[in-house]
């Protein structure tokens, strides 16, 4: 029970949450390079734990997960990520968890191991193996991947690899896939903009706020009830934007994706649309972002 307090506090203090999953109802992910290599390491490690549920978290964001883990409900995914992030830092832990949809009555064990600073691997398993047994396996499985993990850790806080280049005026974005219930968000996309204008927490705030405004009025999300507002329109709202004194923000939806982009005021209003489309294509079509298409 005490474990929950931390989580509750964490969720309640939402304005300092570095992630967006609480509003989007989609788990935050991070896009890293060499995703296939990491995926292989993860699957091997999960098997060693006699489990199908395994996941690699970088700063609380899912970098890689087994198929089974991805099949968990969005709420479960979000809660697990938040739970691990909310707990005090430690090298390994063993927690009993009730999964709201998978097993509301029977507790499972959630084992987490800290690989390097900021990178955790978690496995959900049954009564065996014990924490200590799996702990001894960690170094065997993960030491060859240490360079990949370091690289993955460097992606934070940008959340997308450096080779994905977006427009210079973009302060931050949210890309939500309502089918796979994942969201990719970044508020530090361009380092050159770090100094001037709005700081990252404010950017996060704006994106969150705008998301909440748009969902339920123009777009709908997976959250129940959000479809009532958009249903009032006889034609489907596709894109929307807001211009304020200090920033501009643009949102579009296309198929199962919703894309919110925060711009500086330097970008002309009429250019926002095409830049947004372009960025959207980079993020969704690019091979680097392969995880997104799962």
């Amino acid at each position: 029970m005490q474990v929950c307090f931390q989580l509750l506090d964490y969720i309640l203090e939402r304005w300092c949450l570095p992630t967006f999953s609480d509003v989007t109802n989609a788990v935050d992910i991070i896009v890293i390079q060499d995703i296939t290599t990491i995926q292989n390491f993860l699957e091997a490690f999960t098997e060693a734990g006699d489990s199908l549920f395994g996941c690699l978290l970088v700063k609380g964001k899912v970098a890689s997960a087994t198929k089974k883990w991805c099949s968990l409900s969005p709420t479960e995914l979000i809660l697990l990520s938040l739970l691990i992030e909310s707990l005090p830092h430690c090298t390994s832990r063993d927690l009993p968890v009730y999964l709201p949809q998978m097993s509301p009555t029977v507790p499972h064990r959630l084992l987490t191991f800290n690989l390097i600073n900021g990178v955790d691997v978690c496995v959900i398993c049954g009564p065996s193996p014990s924490l200590s047994k799996l702990q001894s396996e960690v170094s065997r499985f993960w030491s060859p991947a240490i360079d990949n993990l370091r690289a993955a850790c460097d992606v934070h806080p940008r959340n997308v690899p450096n080779n994905v280049v977006l427009d210079q005026n973009i302060l931050g974005f949210m890309l939500i896939n309502s089918e796979s219930n994942k969201c990719l968000c970044s508020v530090d996309i361009n380092n050159n903009l770090q100094e001037r204008g709005i700081n990252s927490s404010r950017r996060r705030e704006i994106l969150r706020c705008y998301y909440q405004k748009v969902i339920g009025t123009y777009f709908s999300s997976t959250v129940e009830g959000s479809e009532i507002g958009p249903a009032e329109y006889s034609h489907k709202p596709q894109e929307t934007y807001v211009v304020t004194d200090t920033y501009k923000i643009y949102a579009l939806q296309s198929a199962s994706f919703q894309f919110f982009v925060l711009y500086t005021t330097d970008i002309p209003t009429y250019a926002m649309r095409s830049v947004t489309q372009k960025s959207f294509n980079i993020l969704t079509k690019d091979k680097n972002v392969v995880i997104y298409e799962s």
């Binding site: 706020c209 009032e232 329109y233 709202p237 929307t240 807001v242 211009v243 304020t244």
Partner: protein, 883 residues
């Protein structure tokens, strides 16, 4: 003005005989006084009511039943006007402004006339006289033959005015029927008939003016079955010697002005019922409650269960009533420790979400509870604020409104209308797939802005002049110097409405909002947009919010303070127009301490002023504007459907070609929207505008308000008509040069003036366009909400007071907000090719703070080039410079 001089000359001719008659104070026996209630308030409301069985009998016995006339449950009584003043000669008291006085004199010669619209009688068991009427037959051609039955009483009329009639060569026709006959060269040979008589004008006191089917320009074909010509009309009419029914057969000129009148349907009837105080069927409505509770007089020991309820509407038992203690606690405790007031709460009762909105004053609490299905939380808040303001305007304070038991019936009416018209309409708007576009407007009428109809400058100038003449109060009895007395009221300002649109306003925003709230929440403005009023006179004391609610702001201005005065609202209405005047007693006018009765003089003057603005040349312009001409054109998207999109380069090249030429000569904004090659729909519209103009000029006679001015009608009307014609031509030219239009719809709010302007709804909107418009309004509403919230937030941030809770959202300083709508499959209507087209269009709202504080909402096609869009936002029409 030139017109004035003309009138002066004529009036001088017979001024002498009349002046002596002035001693007799006609006003003291004025029917207005009889009808006012003990508080000196007056509410007379007449409308042609169709399909009401009780109508005739209602009229028949109104005289015995004085209460019907008293006020709020106002009767549809036939006003007998000045019948009692038959012997009193109307008077011209000053040669200074005979124009006004002559208007005034017209009102003194009322006679007992009853009239019936044929529609009433058609399906009614006629209790009065068994006079059957034939329904309006509309021919297949554009003209229509109308059969109208008038009941006239030439006897009483003669006694008052037969002498003058002789003096002034006025025809019998005007006296008996109230129709000013005309016979002009251009009418000769119309339908091959020699010397036909047509309706050149209507005298304001005659029976004909009250029948909506008799219109200026109509051709009077026969009276009682006898064919009418110029020569035999007097003979025919002189045979009518006693009170009798006269059957008139009229044929209307081809004109576009009839379309609106056909719409009058069950909805209007309902509205009339509500305004008339018949709200029996509302109590069935269980999803809205209004409750006022007070704990002031409650002793804890011997209070019974419901002592605290001062007022409730509708009177019913229910869970919400039982729960009132909860709201009371919530509102007061939260106020105690957070120092903020509760905006609203929601309760789930039997699976239905009720939004509850509270207004607390002292220890009292006003609760509105409406089901979420009927009105959104946001709108409910606006509604609450509107009503609170209205009550403050009407009664001075919320407390006095509810604690005076005699007010309750009036309150019932207000809430009845609100629930019926306000909430229900919003409700239907949001659910029905293709709502009537005129009712979508109601979403916006809840935004403290009055819809404004920009008139062409020359017409606006004239109307401004007419209103100013009245407001200056510098004539006859109103002038200080005439009696050496202080004037009885100072006119603070006035405003003129036509079919729910503001035409002209001489009041500041606060006053205007007060007045429009009053008219709106009594259902009068919506009513005028649907059917013509026979008569409307309202007189009541008001407490304008600018003076009464927040005096500190005004009186802090050094060296000036608003006078300690009382204010009165005078509203007169006729046909589709409503004219509201705000009067001040005290200050530089006579101070009044007791109950103030309506001042017939002011009422009559106001009516005269209203009549002046209703001359046919003006109404033609109103109608034309009303139908959307002169405003920046909007384009129906359905026509676009037929043809494929143009490439953007094509559009912009033609734009730049056309644009340059026009930018210097014409208003920017019109050209801004013209971006492509000539299009058939615009040409069509051009012809419709032209036909409007021609119909306007064909009935070039003035609406008759003064007998003598008829002599100069021919002089007067060409002036107005040529200007308006010229104006139409200008407009037509612009269109024919043009081209495609990518503006679909627009709307502009002016926060300083408190008005808004939007594209006009055409009577027959294609389905797709109406969908777009409905989407436009809905998203406008959200955009506006966002602007408002960001403004509120800014106020909160900049205010010195420490705020306990910040609102959730953080979008400060929102300047622009746009939504792109997407219509994926669009098959062409002819069905030949089922090519799939994509239609995308933007709805963009932009807030301007520099210069004028405005909000502009535009709906345009996605393919529009950016420079065009930017110009569209420069849509710079305001009240004084219409687009």
């Amino acid at each position: 003005m030139a017109n004035n001089q003309i009138y002066t000359g004529v009036f001088n001719g017979y001024n002498i005989e009349i002046r002596s008659a002035f001693k007799d104070p006609v006003y003291q026996t004025s029917p207005w006084l009889e009808k006012a209630d003990e508080k000196g308030e007056l509410f007379i409301f007449e409308v042609e009511k169709s399909k009401d069985l009780d109508f005739e009998s209602f009229i028949d016995n109104w005289g015995d039943n004085q209460s019907l006339n008293s006020r709020f449950p106002c009767s549809n009584s036939e006003d007998t006007g000045y019948s009692s003043d038959a012997e009193v000669q109307p008077s011209l008291k000053s040669e200074k402004s005979p124009k006004k006085a002559s208007k005034f004199s017209q009102f003194l010669k009322r006679k007992e006339v009853k009239l019936f619209d044929e529609k009433n009688i058609e399906d009614s068991i006629d209790t009065l006289s068994g006079c059957d009427c034939v329904e309006c037959r509309v021919d297949t051609m554009t003209t229509s033959v109308k059969d109208v039955l008038l009941i006239v009483d030439p006897e009483s009329k003669r006694s008052t005015s037969v002498q003058r009639c002789v003096n002034n060569n006025t025809s019998l026709c005007e006296h008996i029927l109230g129709i000013i006959p005309g016979c002009q060269g251009q009418q000769l040979g119309y339908n091959g008939v020699q010397e036909p008589v047509y309706v050149k004008g209507l005298s304001p006191d005659g029976p004909a003016i009250k029948v909506k089917d008799i219109q200026i320009g109509d051709w009077l074909k026969s009276i009682n079955g006898h064919e009418v010509t110029r020569t035999n009309i007097d003979v025919l009419l002189s045979s009518i010697s006693s009170t009798s029914k006269v059957r008139l057969l009229l044929q209307s000129m081809p004109s576009g002005q009839h379309s609106l009148q056909q719409k009058q349907g069950a909805e209007t009837d309902q509205l009339i019922n509500v305004i008339s105080g018949d709200h029996s069927n509302h109590s069935l409505n269980q999803s809205s409650f209004v409750l006022y509770t007070s704990l002031e007089n409650i002793q804890s020991e011997n209070s019974s269960d419901k002592d605290d309820i001062v007022y409730q509407y509708p009177v019913s038992e229910g869970l919400l009533l039982a729960m009132r203690g909860m709201f009371y606690t919530v509102c007061h405790t939260i106020k105690d420790f957070t120092n903020t007031s509760v905006q609203n709460t929601s309760v789930l009762i039997q699976d239905e979400v009720y939004n509850i909105c509270c207004h607390s004053e002292g220890k009292d609490l006003l609760i509105f509870a409406v089901s979420e299905k009927r009105i959104s939380k946001y709108l409910l808040n606006i509604l609450k604020e509107d009503i609170v303001r209205l009550l403050q305007v009407l009664y001075g304070s919320i407390e006095s409104a509810f604690k005076t038991v005699s007010n309750h019936q009036q309150l019932n009416s207000i809430f009845g209308i609100t629930i019926k018209c306000g909430i229900d309409n919003i409700y239907t708007d949001l659910t029905s797939p293709t709502p009537a576009s005129c009712s979508i407007n109601r979403l916006l009428t809840h935004t403290n802005h009055v819809q404004y109809l920009p008139l062409p400058p020359d017409v606006l100038l004239n109307i401004n002049g007419i209103l100013s003449d009245f407001e200056s109060g510098d004539f006859v009895e109103m002038s200080d110097s005439y009696y050496g007395l202080r004037r009885s009221y100072t006119i603070l300002g006035s405003c003129l409405f036509y079919k729910d649109y503001l035409l002209c306003n001489h009041l500041n925003k606060e006053h205007l909002t007060d007045i429009s709230l009053y008219l709106q929440y009594h259902g009068l403005l919506p009513l005028t947009s649907k059917c013509a009023l026979n008569q409307l006179v309202i007189w009541r004391e008001v407490y304008p919010s600018q003076f009464c609610c927040d005096v500190s702001g005004i009186n802090n201005v050094f060296g000036y303070s608003e006078p300690d005065a009382r204010w009165f609202l005078l509203v007169v209405g006729l046909k589709y127009s409503i004219y509201a005047v705000l009067l001040e007693a005290g200050g530089c006018a006579i101070r009044r301490n007791r109950v103030t009765v309506p001042d017939p003089f002011y009422i009559d003057q106001a009516k005269a002023t209203l009549l002046q603005t209703l001359t046919s040349s003006y109404t033609t312009v109103y109608e034309a504007r009303f139908n959307g001409s002169g405003l920046p054109l909007t384009k129906s998207v359905d026509s676009l459907n037929m043809k494929s999109h143009h490439s953007i380069s094509d559009l912009s090249s033609s734009f730049s070609k056309l644009g340059q030429k026009r930018f210097d000569s014409e208003n920017e904004l019109r050209s801004a929207r013209i971006i492509s090659s000539p299009r058939h729909d615009l040409l069509q519209r051009k012809t419709s505008v032209d036909s409007d103009a021609s119909s306007g000029s064909s009935n070039d006679s003035l609406f008759k308000s003064s007998r003598t001015s008829r002599l100069f009608a021919d002089l007067h009307s060409p002036i107005v008509n040529t200007t308006s014609n010229k104006w139409f031509e200008d407009f037509g030219l612009k269109l024919s040069r043009g081209v495609d239009n990518s503006l679909l719809y627009f709307c502009q709010f002016d926060t300083i003036e408190g008005i808004y302007i939007s594209a006009k709804d055409k009577p027959d909107i294609p389905a797709l366009q109406s969908q777009i418009i409905s989407n436009f309004y809905k998203s406008c509403f959200h955009i506006k909400q966002m602007f408002q919230e960001s403004r509120d937030l800014k106020k909160l941030v900049t205010s010195e007071r420490e705020v306990l809770f910040f609102p959730e959202d953080n979008l400060v300083d929102v300047k622009e907000h746009g939504v792109l709508f997407h219509l994926s499959s669009l098959s062409s209507p002819d069905g030949k090719k089922s090519k799939q087209q994509q239609l995308t269009y933007w709805v963009v709202g932009r807030k301007l703070t520099r210069g004028a504080r405005r909000e502009i909402y535009v709906c345009f096609l996605d393919s529009t080039p950016q420079n065009v869009i930017e110009t569209a936002f420069k849509l710079g029409f305001s009240q004084t410079c219409p687009g």
